[in-house]
């Protein structure tokens, strides 16, 4: 894959990412973290019984915050990948991060459908399962954040052309 990595890393876009744009792409990515993982945590806490006076269905009103966060995270993440393809794709931690995010997003949309929108409709019967999913959400988003932060420390190669 090295020739592909070198081709990407030599592209003007990749050089722009790793150059002047780098700090601001990281800023966008960090704001996205707050707006994606934050509401996910709030929804999980509500399912676990915190602030139980909030109707579960009402928590769906915070989903636009998650989608807006993703609108910051996905393009900035893609740009960071274009900036440092070797660094990310040769690091197992990167795949762990992607798995946490993918499963986390699938789970939150599932939770919206079967827990939040089913509020008062057989909800008590499903409560134990809902709480298990809430704990999983907390673990997955914490995992995504920690894995993402550790990408700066765990890579074995920075670029394809560097040793």
């Amino acid at each position: 894959l090295d020739p592909i990595f070198i081709w990407i890393e030599d592209s003007p876009l990749s050089r722009w990412v790793t150059g002047e744009a780098f700090p601001w792409i990281l800023v966008a990515h960090t704001i996205g973290v707050g707006f994606v993982a934050g509401p996910n945590a709030a929804i999980a806490l509500r399912i676990l019984g915190v602030a139980s006076a909030i109707p579960l269905r009402a928590m769906t009103g915070f989903f636009p915050v998650i989608w807006l966060g993703l609108l910051a995270n996905v393009p900035s993440g893609a740009l960071l990948l274009i900036g440092y393809p070797t660094k990310a794709l040769t690091n197992p931690v990167f795949y762990a991060k992607l798995a946490c995010i993918g499963i986390g997003l699938a789970l939150i949309t599932h939770v919206k459908r079967v827990v939040l929108l089913m509020d008062g409709d057989g909800a008590a019967r499903a409560e134990a399962r809902a709480k298990a999913m809430a704990w999983m959400l907390l673990a997955l988003w914490a995992g995504a954040i920690v894995a993402g932060r550790l990408l700066a420390y765990t890579h074995s190669r920075l670029t394809a052309s560097s040793p």
């Binding site: 707050g34 934050g38 945590a41 602030a51 006076a53 909030i54 009103g61 932060r149 550790l150």
Partner: protein, 165 residues
Amino acid sequence: VIADLQRSIVDAARSTWVHDFVLSDGKIWPVLESLHYVGLALLFGTIVLYDLRVLGLAKAVPPSALHRLVPFGIAGFLINLATGLMFFSGAPDQYVYNAAFRAKLIFFALAGLNVALFYSWAYAGVRNLGAGADAPWRAKVATGISLVAWCGVMVAGRLLTFYRP
């Protein structure tokens, strides 16, 4: 005078046991950073979500009940204060001589003053606010400031790395 003060702050931080601890193992800094980001997400998922509701998002959520999440935001904040103080102790020169850190402190002070403003001047208007209700303008002003201040803290914090001496 400022240069002397900066020098003495750096020296004082370097003489603490926290400084020695943070630098004693290369794995400590990444772990602290991870915790700092988890704390950030907790703060955004609670305080900032409350701000957004008061500003008019997700009106079906009663702010009176949503306020019960705030202690988790405070927990996130305390995680970040503790880890932040450890970063500072570990490499004080990277923060004392850093324009982004000064910006972060300004946004941080704004957030802190705004907490006092919110609870003394605006909270009475939203304490018992129920589902569907629109918040009074005072609460919207204070939560708007909160939103801007915490985003400012995060942006300046992320830019710290690029303003190191």
